[in-house]
Symmetry: C2
Subunit: 256 residues, 2 copies
């Protein structure tokens, strides 16, 4: 039997993405230049950054007047050196709820239900001076649009994930996770299945979309200008309810 | 330029692992049967389950007398149906500190500093009736031993990760993470590097070992008897301080 294999392929060569660009066209053209041909079952992972830029989720910081709360937090001694009060203000505006705001760290719940640092506001790699990107307003719909457009352009049935790097409690470092999903289920569910001894499995629901996003990050890097990756060979389950499926209901969350 | 590619290869065909087995031999033999040849720079990811079994971290549940605390928690109405008080007792014994014990969920900090459900105690796929596995006592040393033995047997310079599936606050589903690491740095650090506009990067430290573990899970599955995966093509940084580097210091953790 041939070994089970998955391939993660970085798609380089996209130009700087701007709000006037069609991201599907940029992606398909870049694949052509790199001699990459999509196949049925590919998962295409886009970074949040390029999706936000293409959708115009770019906020000039010159337009932002920091509140007293933002200015106070940015200026605190335990805040990271050089914290920009305008970025703090934008993160507060993008938040739905403050989860932690201490030791110079701002963890918020976004309107999508994601819990992450600074509401996903990011001033790096924006492509515009003195501006920041915000998360796409409806990342599952963004993924759906990309999924449909890629399938139309290539004739291949693919799934699409939009990824962002999130921190985690208890563990150092950030990892890529899925914030928008289309064409596949976010979760692989083993409930009701048994091991060789007939015992039901303990960890029964795997967040495969997050694992796919993590795998994609390994070829992306932060400075390599590889904002898209193709994961090939993973037998995903079609359908599903998008990245919204990954958001734990507040009533079942012990850490909000 | 050829596209940047990473391959994740499942290694099937290992027999049921027991404490008398040499895991390196089982792995090398399985690679031979599957016609897989290691190359320099491969990352070999082992599930915690096979490492724990090979190291004899198997506890017969018949030996466990549940405490009143364990019995009370297991019997609570909001606990999952069929919660075994002996497993709860074992999880408590394996814990260093209780992080949450509510709604039928037991989140502990292990002696290694990991925060996870049930101290990593797991009764599925043990290979022995009425028994559970515990985490390896020193997973970084386990990884180190495997790394050295594989390099000696194959002549190839590899890194080794021991993985387990952990839940996360705020997000549904579990994902594979690294609990033991040898031969590579757990983190990729972009601090001090700038984007195209000269702005320093926001998310600067990536937990690449966790992303590699996540990628490996995609070929492993829970029922496929694929307890090892090879990740090929990732340019890891040698050295590092093991999975201990991934444990956030309590003083800097806002969620303990």
């Amino acid at each position: 039997m041939a070994a089970k294999r998955i391939e993660v392929i970085g798609v380089a060569g996209l130009p700087e993405v701007t709000p006037s660009d069609d991201l599907t066209t940029l992606f398909v053209d870049a694949c052509g230049r790199e001699n990459l041909t999509l196949v049925d079952g590919d998962v295409v992972v886009f970074t949040q950054k390029v999706v936000s830029k293409a959708e115009g989720c770019i906020v000039p910081l010159t337009d932002i007047e920091p509140s007293s709360l933002a200015a106070g937090f940015a200026g605190r001694e335990d805040a990271k050196a050089g914290k920009d009060p305008r970025l703090v203000e934008l993160a507060l505006r993008e938040s739905h709820r403050i989860v932690r705001m201490d030791h110079g760290v701002l963890i918020t719940e976004t309107r999508h239900g994601f819990v992450c640092a600074n509401s996903g506001v990011d001033a790096s790699n924006v492509g515009v001076v003195d501006a920041a990107t915000t998360l796409p307003s409806e990342p599952d719909r963004s993924a759906e649009r990309l999924c449909t457009a890629i399938s139309e352009r290539t004739g291949k049935r693919v799934a699409v994930i939009i990824s962002d790097t999130f921190g985690r409690p208890w563990r150092e470092g950030v990892v890529n996770v899925a914030i928008g999903i289309a064409g596949m289920s976010a979760l692989r569910d083993y409930r009701g299945q048994n091991d060789a001894e007939g015992r039901s499995l303990a960890s029964t629901v795997i967040a495969v979309a997050d694992e796919l996003a993590a795998a994609a990050e390994l070829v992306m890097g932060k400075l390599d200008r590889i904002p898209v990756a193709i994961v090939r060979g993973f037998a995903f389950a079609p359908g599903g309810g998008g990245a919204a499926e990954l958001v734990r209901d507040a009533a079942h969350d012990l850490f909000r």
